[in-house]
């Protein structure tokens, strides 16, 4: 597996060294006042202070969804923190037990709503593996292209919001403008702006339009410039470096114990990417690198995501010119709806359509766990089927659930202003966290 540090000239820190170019001392050293004494011999312990409790409540300006962080402060330092989630718990796992497999797809859209297609594809991949079918080549390459486009869009929102929380608003607009162009392409393809629901069990809902390749290439043209603009603004910015270097540091072993996957784990230096380790949909035939960080701080998480955007661009350019022809759906009448002219003109087509819509796709009884590399980490689905058209149990393995678990330990000991920087670097999407 090839390692690639983020593409920055002299600002790549060595492992274990979290120093910035302008600071004189070590960031992680606590400002230690304990030895200070005043002229009359009193120390800091003699001052009668009380801890202060603040609540970073369910609604807050950092645009990351609803959860609550309750902190006990001593001055600006956080002594203890408690994290409360569940403010967007929508009962996904209960309600999908009353729906058919194809009806579950819109529910999966709203899990990680910044990259809805990735969730759709992950779910369909698990169900298709359960059915024992393999989608045609054309569908596999199209799914790869869509997943990489969504990866770029998700990272844009995450990095944009991360930098906004640190204080720089302009980058957000650069990324959002580039993202709107990609969104236009996906809207022309699927009909929706955010919750696409484009995949179906056995393939895709409909085929690509003829000018899809040109549209995608035109939309991707603005992205390298946006990335260059943003990195140019923050790379050497004193404020950004001070607020992100050495903040929220975690090492790889502790991160693995907490269940981290995805770009946050790669920022700690651990090179694990499901697209390289367990390739699916011909990922092993595309050439791309996996960027890893050195220190596991907020700075690394931001730049790992930016570097991953560039790698996704490489994959899309390789794939978009080589989309094979052929059908997009599996040729199996028990899984895929028949064509409309068959439904309207033949009796068998009508009955087939009726049975598929009323009874649904029926995988054989059994249990399966399957996962993909979502932009946030490993998104897994544990599906139990009892042979009927409705799933018996679907458990989602959300990547940011385990990242949020760690938040308490990352912010205890840090300052209040660091909470937003750390939180934004973890890319917490409440739809996925609470399901």
């Amino acid at each position: 597996m090839t390692d690639k540090k983020p593409n920055l000239d002299d600002f790549v820190p060595k492992a274990g060294e979290a120093k910035g170019p302008y600071s004189a001392g070590d960031f992680s050293a606590d400002l230690d006042y304990s030895g200070d004494t005043a002229a009359d011999g009193t120390t800091l312990d003699d001052i009668d202070t009380q801890p202060m409790y603040i609540n970073i409540g369910p609604t807050h300006p950092a645009t990351h969804g609803t959860f609550r962080v309750y902190c006990k402060l001593d001055g600006e330092r956080i002594k203890k923190a408690a994290v409360d989630i569940g403010y967007l718990h929508r009962g996904f796992e209960k309600i999908v037990e009353h729906r058919k497999y194809n009806q579950v797809i819109p529910y999966t859209d709203r899990l990680n709503y910044c990259s809805g297609l990735v969730n759709n594809i992950g779910f369909c991949k698990a169900v298709e593996r359960m059915l024992g079918i393999e989608v045609p080549e054309r569908t596999q390459v199209i799914r790869v292209i869509l997943m990489e486009i969504q990866r770029i869009m998700d990272h844009m929102i995450c990095v944009g919001a991360n930098i906004v929380d640190i204080g720089a608003l302009t980058n957000f607009w650069y990324f959002f403008n580039a993202r709107e162009k990609l969104n236009d392409v996906l809207e022309a393809l699927t009909g929706a702006r955010l919750t696409y629901s484009y995949t179906r069990v056995g393939g895709l809902a409909w085929d690509l339009p003829e000018d899809f390749r040109e549209r995608v290439k035109a939309a991707l043209e603005g992205i390298p410039k946006a990335i260059r603009d943003v990195t140019g603004l923050i790379k050497k910015n004193r404020i950004f470096l001070d607020r992100s270097r050495g903040v929220g540091v975690i090492d790889a072993e502790k991160a693995l114990s907490f269940g981290w996957t995805g770009p946050c784990l790669r920022a700690t230096g651990y090179p694990m990417d499901l697209r390289k380790v367990r390739p699916y949909y011909h990922y092993d035939q595309f050439s791309f690198d996996v960027p890893i960080g050195a220190n596991g701080d907020v700075y690394d998480r931001v730049f790992v995501r930016i570097a991953e955007m560039e790698e996704s661009l490489r994959i899309i350019y390789q794939a978009i010119d080589n989309v094979p022809g052929g059908p997009i759906n599996v040729d199996n009448k028990d899984i895929v709806l028949p064509a409309k002219d068959e439904v309207h003109n033949t009796m068998e087509g009508l009955i087939n359509h009726f049975k598929l819509v009323i009874e649904g796709v029926k995988p054989p009884p059994g249990r399966i766990y399957d996962s993909i590399e979502a932009p946030n980490g490993e998104l897994g689905f544990y599906i139990i089927s009892d042979g009927t058209g409705q799933p018996y149990r679907i458990k989602v393995r959300p990547p940011c659930f385990y990242l949020m678990n760690t938040l308490k330990y990352l912010i205890e000991g840090a300052m209040v202003a660091d909470i937003v920087a750390i939180l934004a670097g973890l890319n917490i999407i409440a739809g996925e966290l609470d399901r």
Partner: protein
């Protein structure tokens, strides 16, 4: 900015108060300060509305204020579940009058397709709503249209009655538009 002599100002000194009313309402409607109570996917669509392609600041509602004391338009964007319901009520209560509520999206208006143990089936059970926007998520143009409807609502507000529950009085009569 129409200068209609409405029926309920018949008994007051008509001309001066309606002109002053119209001017005050014009100023108020073009400077709404929204409070985006964004929870789920609709919040991302709201972020798109605020960004340059769909610019909400052309209608004056650019200053999003996350503090309820400083806002006058509560924009509930996303699913509200039972855990978040007391928070929504408290935020609504903390806003000063006159205040308006837009319920954005299917989940806020009626629970969406989450008809289960966790989701409030419509925020009308908690706060009074002025405009509902359907859609999942609604297009940014639909959100701008809702803002224009709120502006039209504000236009019809007469000054003596401001602050009283005005919904049944200001309902659109046939012939309005």
């Amino acid at each position: 900015m129409g200068m209609k002599t409405d029926t309920y100002t018949k008994n007051e000194t008509g001309l001066i108060t309606t002109r002053v009313d119209a001017m005050i309402n014009w100023a108020r409607k073009n400077s709404l300060w929204p409070l985006p109570f964004g929870t789920a996917c609709c919040a991302i669509e709201f972020m798109s509305v605020v960004s340059s392609p769909f610019d909400i600041s052309r209608f004056g509602a650019e200053l999003v204020r996350f503090s309820p004391r400083q806002a006058d338009l509560l924009l509930v964007a996303g699913t509200i579940n039972y855990k978040l319901a007391p928070v929504l009520k408290r935020i609504y209560d903390q806003m000063p009058e006159p205040k308006y509520v837009i319920s954005m999206g299917a989940c806020a208006s009626s629970g969406g397709f989450y008809d289960n143990y966790a989701t409030v089936q419509g925020i009308e059970q908690i706060v009074p709503v002025d405009v509902f926007i359907p859609g999942c998520p609604p297009r940014p143009e639909a959100i701008l249209d809702a803002l224009l409807k709120i502006q039209k609502l504000i236009d019809r507000e007469p000054s003596p009655k401001r602050g009283v529950d005005r919904r049944h009085e200001l309902a659109e009569k046939p012939g309005d538009e």
